[in-house]
């Protein structure tokens, strides 16, 4: 019997004490390790997002191109006003709000990201647009290479972005089957003519990737976007910078475009108030009159309801600004 001997009671007590104390110490260490590791992971996850955000900020100061080397394969997401890393259902999912207007694929799973920044002016500077692309997302521009408009538009896309332009009559979907099947996202953009619609391309390329088709109507500044399910969405664009955005973001365009238009409204409000204030300081009546006209035009511009109105007011404000410059008056922008 254990109880019968004093030495055995001693031993039993030591064991019990050892087990209880050991369990407490072990729990403490496990908890500590967990807190420490999750803290480290939180810092690391946010650091990646902050690094990407800071790099975009630094690049956005000027127009240009760059290739970000993330030093490892990361799964980055660009969802309207959020930058995310990791999978949304996974443990290592982090997100960071951003003020930047980023047009790109929804997900980028690559070490390298090609980035192009361009100022959006309408007619005064509104914002810098960021266009993103990785090697998993491929884009083809199909249009008439004889058209000056199409050649100008495609010619401005930096070669680093890897977006080829193909003559409509020479486009054969079969030539791009292997490229399409190796992509995560494959976007075909038609300008004014649609030789092969979404369903034809889908049957050619299969279901290996997200196929999107965009049909641009340049005369109307509108486009039809067919997403990876073939669902159609009609969108408009304001200036070429926004059309580039549509090409790089595809079916995710609308949300980013809305953010850009909100910013357009904010900037137009600032310019309207700026002109009002300058008017109060101006002594020359001819300048006051011109500034007053410009102020009214800016108010109308901000309240434009249609794209036609937007383009009309855009041209008028541009002309008014030139007139103010010629008369040696303070200008709108």
């Amino acid at each position: 019997m254990i109880k019968s001997k004093k030495g055995n009671t001693d031993l039993l007590f030591k064991w019990m004490f050892g087990i209880i104390a050991g369990a407490i110490v072990l729990t403490f260490f496990i908890r500590f390790s967990y807190v420490h590791l999750s803290g480290e992971s939180l810092i690391e996850g946010n650091r990646i997002l902050l690094t990407v955000d800071n790099k975009l900020d630094a690049l956005g100061v000027r127009e240009g191109t760059d290739v970000f080397d993330l030093k490892d394969d990361f799964s980055l997401g660009f969802d309207c006003s959020l930058i995310t890393s990791g999978d949304i259902m996974g443990e290592n999912f982090f997100e960071r709000k951003t003020d930047k207007i980023i047009f790109g694929p929804e997900k980028i799973n690559d070490r390298f990201i090609s980035i192009w920044t361009k100022k959006w002016e309408a007619p005064y500077g509104i914002s810098t647009f960021y266009y993103l692309k990785d090697k998993g997302s491929n884009i083809l521009l199909i249009g008439s290479t004889n058209s000056e408009e199409f050649s100008d538009f495609t010619g401005k896309i930096p070669s680093i972005m890897g977006v080829p332009a193909i003559e409509t009559t020479q486009f054969n979907p079969a030539d791009f089957t292997s490229q399409a099947r190796q992509s995560n996202k494959f976007t075909v953009v038609y300008f004014d003519r649609t030789p092969y619609d979404w369903s034809v391309l889908k049957s050619q390329y299969g279901s290996f990737m997200d196929l999107e088709v965009i049909v641009v109507n340049t005369a109307d500044h509108t486009a039809e976007v067919y997403d990876y399910n073939g669902n159609k969405e009609e969108v408009f664009y304001f200036r070429d910078e926004m059309l580039y955005g549509l090409i790089f973001s595809g079916s995710k365009y609308s949300c980013t475009k809305d953010i850009a238009m909100e910013r357009f409204n904010v900037l137009t409000r600032i310019y309207t108030e700026k002109v009002s204030r300058i008017m109060s300081k101006e002594n020359r009546q001819e300048c006051v009159d011109l500034l007053n006209e410009a102020r009214k035009m800016l108010e109308a511009y901000q309240n434009s309801l249609t794209k036609t109105e937007l383009y009309n007011y855009f041209e008028k404000i541009e002309k008014q600004n030139l007139q103010l410059e010629r008369e040696d008056c303070p200008t709108v922008y």
Binding site: F28, F32, N46, L50, A58, S127, K274
Partner: protein, 177 residues
């Protein structure tokens, strides 16, 4: 009288107790160092972010001259109004910071720190009656600040005049937005 067996148990408990205390102290100290390291990292990142923000703020469409690399003072008051109406948008852009623009030259010392507002603007003496604009200020936890600054060119379109100024960004060792 204390028996020999009881002395053994007490010794064992004491030794284990001391060992556990030492281990816990070690872990606590390590944890504190770790937290300190994270704070230093956050401060470094905050400074890096503020420095990038300096370049960004000078070129920000809401504050800058059109393509001339200067800051348009006539946009400052309209911007403050927009900021008041939609603070969330700019909180996302600037985070926890204080952004101030100060005129350096030519300005009298007596008005250098006087903040320019709507009342000062409509006075005839403007821009000689004030020399500072608080563009943005968000520090909800009243944290101590570190400062980065750069010299900027200030443009007054009302008078078609350029002056020398300084853009200051105070940051609070925090990268949250």
């Amino acid at each position: 009288m204390v028996k020999k067996g009881q002395v053994h148990v007490s010794e064992t408990i004491l030794v284990l107790f001391v060992v556990v205390i030492i281990l816990m102290m070690g872990v606590t100290i390590y944890f504190k160092f770790s937290v300190e390291k994270s704070k230093t990292l956050a401060e470094e990142l905050s400074e890096e972010q503020a420095t990038i923000m300096l370049a960004k703020a000078v070129g920000l469409e809401e504050l800058s001259c059109e393509g001339l690399g200067c800051m348009d003072t006539s946009k400052f008051l309209p911007f403050k109004r927009v900021l008041g109406e939609d603070f969330g948008r700019y909180k996302r852009m600037f985070g926890r910071k204080r952004i101030v623009v100060k005129e350096l030259y030519p300005i009298e010392d007596s008005v250098k720190e006087v903040e320019c507002d709507v009342v000062k603007y409509i006075q005839m003496e403007y821009p000689e009656n004030c020399g500072s604009w608080v563009i943005y200020d968000y520090n909800p936890e009243n944290e101590p600040a570190a400062k980065v600054s750069t010299i900027v060119s200030l443009y007054y379109p009302e008078f078609d005049e350029y002056r020398v100024g300084r853009l200051e960004i105070e940051h609070y060792g925090d990268i949250r937005r």
